[in-house]
Amino acid sequence: IGTNEWLRIGSTFHSLHAIAAEAAPRRLPGNKNSYGADDGIEEIEAGGLVLRCFQTRTGMKFVITAEPGTPDIDYVLREIYVLYTDCALKDPFYELEMPIRCELFAQGVDALIERVEKAASIGKR
């Protein structure tokens, strides 16, 4: 999927996330949830997929899609946040809000996913 597609998907999700808070039957004060971040879509469960969104208090959203029943998605999202702050934010050539093209970040995320998958498969056995 090309960068433009990703940008389109990302911006669609961003808008849906915000509108969901408006359309929700129970509105939280100031539209902020108990964590302090903006209220909005946290999880979408569909036939063959689960989509989880982690919103930081700075308004950044981390979205992950996985197979239903995958454990530790929250942990993965938080780890990715740490990787983002360590690899992407500290890269002097990374501009905020631009697509992330940092080697270190990609390597970190790959390593994290491998680690989690290995742990999950050991757990299953």
């Binding site: 808008s15 915000a18 509108i19 808070a21 408006e22 539209n31 902020k32 108990s34 964590y35 302090g36 903006d38 930081t56 208090r57 700075t58 308004g59 950044m60 938080r78 780890e79 946040y81 740490v82 983002y84 702050t85 360590d86 934010l89 500290k90 905020l96």
Partner: protein, 192 residues
């Protein structure tokens, strides 16, 4: 009282987890940066503005790191109900985590607070010459605080009001809250 001591304890816990750099190298690198700015810009207000701008770019990145690492360390960060809580977080946890020094909070009102820094790691070896005696050497801090708070929707203005390099007994940064920004879908989508 117990809230501020637990903030200090959390700040210390975060500080221990951060990779450390040589304090002298840090101070001297900053000194070199300021010297370059002094060479590039003729007048002092421009230098202040540049330092603040550099600080701002740093601040917007620092706050994400603070929030992420605090999660990881299991430090609980309850949402700040009042500006006083924000001030405590910045002073006891933010400054401690990144610089290793805690700041004190003073003059807290609903629209502002002051950060008091007893020791300033940036100005370790600094002496201001006569023609730059009015230079706010550590104006970077003002930018960092402004940038960091901007990311969490607090628009503030920071100024250095007291500086040990100017002969005062402590460093004081005044932070004034200008407005609280709103995120979200915007007014078009609000129900009537």
């Amino acid at each position: 009282m117990s809230k501020s001591t637990s903030a200090s304890a959390s700040g210390h816990a975060l500080w221990t987890k951060m990779p450390k750099a040589n304090a002298e190298l840090f101070a001297l690198t900053y000194g070199a940066l300021v010297t370059e700015l002094v060479r590039d810009y003729e007048n002092i207000p421009d230098i202040h503005q540049q330092l603040e701008k550099i600080g701002h770019s740093m601040g917007v990145r620092c706050v994400d790191e603070f929030l992420a690492k605090a999660e990881l360390a299991g430090v609980s960060l309850p949402p700040c109900g009042k500006l006083k809580d924000t001030a405590e977080m910045v002073a006891k946890m933010g400054f401690k985590m990144f610089l290793g020094v805690t700041a004190d909070v003073a003059h807290v009102t609903d629209s502002g607070f002051s950060l008091l820094l007893q020791e300033n790691p940036l100005s370790l070896f600094c002496e201001l010459p006569e023609q730059y005696a009015q230079l706010k050497y550590s104006n970077l801090y003002c930018g960092v605080v402004r940038g960091a708070l901007e990311q969490v929707n607090l628009k503030v203005e920071c100024t250095f009001v007291k500086d040990t390099l100017h002969g005062d007994e402590t460093n004081e940064i005044k932070v004034e809250l200008k407005e609280v920004l709103q995120d979200g879908a915007g007014d078009d989508y609000k129900e009537e």
